[in-house]
């Protein structure tokens, strides 16, 4: 017995030699003439897809006979590769998959081929095979299938170590087209398939190429409102590269056949599903979770072909692309005029902070109240598995090594929050005061889609026991012999009927004028009444005033 195959053989027949076809025919004169049968053969193949290749299944008929035979790939009359040779047992099919390489192991060009099976003394049989190159070079997130604006470009705030705002490009958030001057968009210059681009997990800077924004390969996160059904527009590659380093076309379209794309995780728009080089298709996905947070998805794309009027047949293989999606409570909100200096989209680092807090704290985030709770507890840190405050900041007070509570990130003259500096490892210093916290909280929660967030300015306060952000616990001596605020900033989303505070906790032990204290989170705490902010924070009658949302830098 001899059977050779360079390609993968799914099943080899149990071969048994018989004396000879002639004798068999003599003993069974009524039997039909032996002949080769191709049971299944790929019409279209892209061996560069994962699991891709051309399928060939053949056998000898009728049963109870055998012969030597070979299976080959032929192009323009020349044998490109011998897939298998051996004794073909009667009745048991041989199943092969061609990996698209020639006899020397080199990848073959796109174009027309034949899959041929031959045996001595028998008429050969063959089927046409179109070798193509399939692949997605761009993904563009679009507003979801549910009407209304629910998809937003995300924003980075640094570039090569300097502050520069960059929104993920609306023309495509995913691009994998090869570097400038590449021979083709789907393959590398050695003919090997270009691998999918991994998700960009950096949160401060976009993908850079030598200090400039990368334009040919990136995979940026997407942002939708919670519960949205994401819609992606896919763009297909134009061409391939030969193993010898020459640009080639994609091998399709070809006569009387058409191709379409499928996605395991989504539904293709039937009016927008055909695949053409450089063309586009559109796919809708199931609703995202109804919670603010981060969601990882791996999309698997497959392809099908059909002859005109025929049934769709699968093309072997698939390609996978990983995506990262963030969900927001609603459309991001910014102070009026803030859009003059940057695109008004959610910042990646803000939503990533929130997602990490939510995951660690194990809290729900499906409505404004829940989002505020996650945010206040996450921003303040030092609880539920969080070891420190956001970016490691500490309240600016003498006992903590700071000073008299100076503002470092909120600019009082311009009314702007220097959020990019805070998020860049507290680049303007470790210490923060109430205005810094207020400014960060209102802008970040607004960016997450919480409506009506506004600062509340409080007048001078004769303080009770407080626990400042980043400090080890409660104090009644905030400033070293003094314990009063000249003013205080907190936030609200209901015109100060309730207020939230990421800067400090109040003491809920029933005696907030002595230590130790009992942690009291300020998550939408009522302004008036028992255990209200006004009652627990100060002994004087504190005035309050709503202010406008800060600008953003």
């Amino acid at each position: 017995m001899s059977a050779t195959s360079r390609s993968v053989a799914w099943s080899l027949p149990a071969l048994s030699l018989v004396a000879g076809l002639g004798r068999a025919q003599q003993s069974q004169p009524a039997s039909p003439l032996p002949h080769l049968v191709i049971e299944r053969a790929s019409r279209v193949a892209d061996p560069k897809l994962a699991g891709g290749g051309a399928e060939l299944v053949f056998r000898l008929a009728p049963a109870a006979q055998s012969t030597s035979a070979r299976a080959e790939v032929v192009k323009e009359g020349q044998v490109v590769d011998t897939l298998w040779s051996g004794t073909l047992g009667a009745g048991t099919p041989v199943a092969l998959q061609w990996d698209g390489r020639d006899a020397a192991g080199a990848r073959c060009d796109t174009g027309a081929y034949w899959l041929r099976v031959s045996a001595p003394g028998l008429p050969p049989v063959q089927r046409p095979l179109q070798l193509v190159r399939l692949g997605i070079t761009e993904l563009e997130a679009q507003d979801g299938a549910i009407p209304g604006l629910d998809e937003f470009q995300m924003v980075y705030f640094m570039k090569a170590g300097t502050y520069a705002f960059y929104a993920t490009p609306a023309v495509h958030e995913y691009r994998n087209a090869g570097p400038e001057g590449a021979l083709s968009d789907l393959d590398q210059d050695d003919g090997e398939p270009r691998p999918a681009v991994a998700v960009h997990t950096g949160t401060a800077e976009p993908v850079l190429d030598g200090g400039q924004y990368a334009t040919t390969a990136f995979n940026y996160p997407l942002a939708y409102t919670l519960g949205a059904r994401p819609r992606l527009e896919l763009t297909f590659g134009l061409g391939s590269t030969s193993a010898t380093g020459l640009a080639r076309d994609a091998g399709f379209p070809f006569a009387a056949h058409e191709l379409r794309v499928r996605c395991d995780e989504g539904t293709l728009d039937p009016t927008h599903e055909l695949v053409l080089p450089g063309g586009t298709a559109r796919v809708d996905f199931p609703p995202l979770p109804r919670e603010v947070g981060r969601h990882e998805r791996t999309l698997t794309f497959r392809y099908e072909c059909r002859a005109s009027g025929g049934a769709w047949e699968p093309i072997l293989g698939s390609e996978t692309i990983a995506l990262r999606l963030y969900t927001l409570l609603g459309a991001p909100r910014f102070a009026a005029g803030a859009s003059g200096t940057q695109y008004v989209g959610p910042w990646v680092e803000v939503v990533e902070h929130f997602a990490a807090w939510k995951e660690t704290l194990g809290l729900a985030s499906g409505d404004a109240g829940q989002v505020t709770e996650v945010f206040v507890k996450g921003f303040f840190g030092q609880n539920g598995g969080l070891t420190r405050a956001i970016e490691g900041v500490v309240y600016d007070a003498y006992p903590l090594g700071g000073d008299g509570g100076a503002t470092h990130y909120h600019n009082f003259t311009s009314g702007n929050m220097r959020l990019s500096r805070l998020l860049n490892a507290h680049a303007l210093g470790k210490f923060v005061n109430c205005s810094d916290n207020m400014s960060a909280t209102t802008t970040m929660l607004s960016m997450l889609g919480v409506p009506n967030m506004r600062p509340v300015r409080l007048g001078n306060m004769t303080l009770r026991a407080i626990w400042g952000i980043g400090s080890p616990g409660y104090t009644l001596d905030l400033w070293g012999g003094s314990h009063a605020f000249s003013y205080h900033h907190i936030v609200t989303d209901d015109d100060a009927a309730t207020v939230s505070d990421t800067c400090m906790q109040l003491d809920e032990d029933g005696d907030s004028l002595s230590l130790p204290g009992t942690p009291g989170w300020n998550v939408r705490r009522p302004w008036n009444g028992v255990n209200s902010y006004k009652q627990l924070s100060a002994t004087n009658n504190v005035t309050k005033r709503l202010e406008s949302l800060p600008g953003l830098q």
Binding site: Q153, T168, L400, G402, D403, N411, G429, R545, S548
Partner: protein, 288 residues
């Protein structure tokens, strides 16, 4: 009469528009600022001469300056230790310098009032004079809890120039001394030209900024620019469209629109003396 009314209306509109350029302050904030001005005796602050600016290259020996960040009229820079004997390991952040070269003495003082107003403690901070520091026309400092006698910040005005120095983290670098740095900055301001009464500091030349008024997302457009070649350029691209500006290999500035919508490109040019000039151009970006 009719013309007078129209003129009055026009003047009123202009006045309203001008007033809206700055942040709108609540009554409570205005009251607080008033209290701060009284607490720190603003009315008695010595008034110096108008100065040409604060050199960006002011000699702050032993510290390495980070990039200049333009925030409105304010310039912000972080300085790192370059010489460990100054209080911290080389490369570690030492302090943040904020500065504004204003057109008038009053504007510079307003900046100082803003910094003092942001202090949450009800305690009055000492003046630089009370600390024995002869820096600026008027100035104040915040003591640090990191070490006895340490200063966490120093803020002062010298003529029309407002300066604030803030230690990055004195708990990590307690030996850092801000006073010599502030004194060096003050000397640098005094080393610039005294301006005549009514004269404004010279802003960098920024004669032209233009670009095509319509573009398609995903393309790139050359920016037509005429600016002082010595000026630092800082680009801001905003509004509901998207895009960014980069310098090409050919040395030209290019706008890359990446998303549809109206787009405003603003260029801030910063002179060697810390003055800022701005120009903006608006365009519409169409979807690709």
């Amino acid at each position: 009469m009719k013309h007078s009314a129209l003129l009055f209306t026009f003047v009123l509109l202009v006045a309203v528009a001008s007033a809206q350029e700055g942040p709108r302050r609540s009554d409570l904030e205005l009251r607080h600022r008033g209290e701060i001005e009284r607490t720190y005796a603003r009315a008695a602050w010595p008034v110096g001469s108008l100065r040409a600016g604060l050199p960006l290259e002011a000699p702050l020996t032993g510290f390495a300056a980070g990039p200049v960040v333009v925030e409105g009229e304010l310039l912000v820079r972080t300085f790192a230790f370059a010489a460990p004997e100054l209080g911290g390991p080389a490369g570690e952040s030492a302090f943040v310098l904020e500065s504004r070269v204003a057109d008038s003495l009053g504007e510079a003082q307003e900046e100082l009032v803003g910094w003092l107003s942001g202090l949450q403690s009800a305690q009055r901070m000492p003046s630089l004079g009370e600390l024995g520091l002869q820096i600026g026309d008027a100035g104040f400092a915040g003591r640090s809890g990191a070490r006895a006698g340490g200063l966490a910040w120093i803020a002062f005005v010298r003529g029309n120039v407002a300066v604030r120095l803030s230690a990055f983290d004195l708990t990590a670098t307690p030996a850092l001394e801000l006073a010599p740095v502030a004194a060096a900055l003050d000397r640098a301001i005094l080393g610039t030209r005294t301006l005549a009464v009514g004269e404004k500091p010279l802003r960098p030349a920024l004669a032209r900024l233009d670009v095509a008024r319509r573009a398609v997302a995903g393309t790139r457009l050359p920016l037509d620019l005429e600016a002082d070649p010595a000026a630092l350029l800082s680009w801001h691209v905003g509004a509901s469209g998207q895009g960014y500006v980069e310098r090409g290999g050919d040395g030209r500035w290019w706008l890359h629109p990446t998303g549809p919508g109206p787009l405003r490109v603003t260029l801030a040019a910063v002179s060697a003396l810390g003055t800022v000039a701005r120009r903006s151009v608006e365009l519409t970006v169409d979807d690709d």
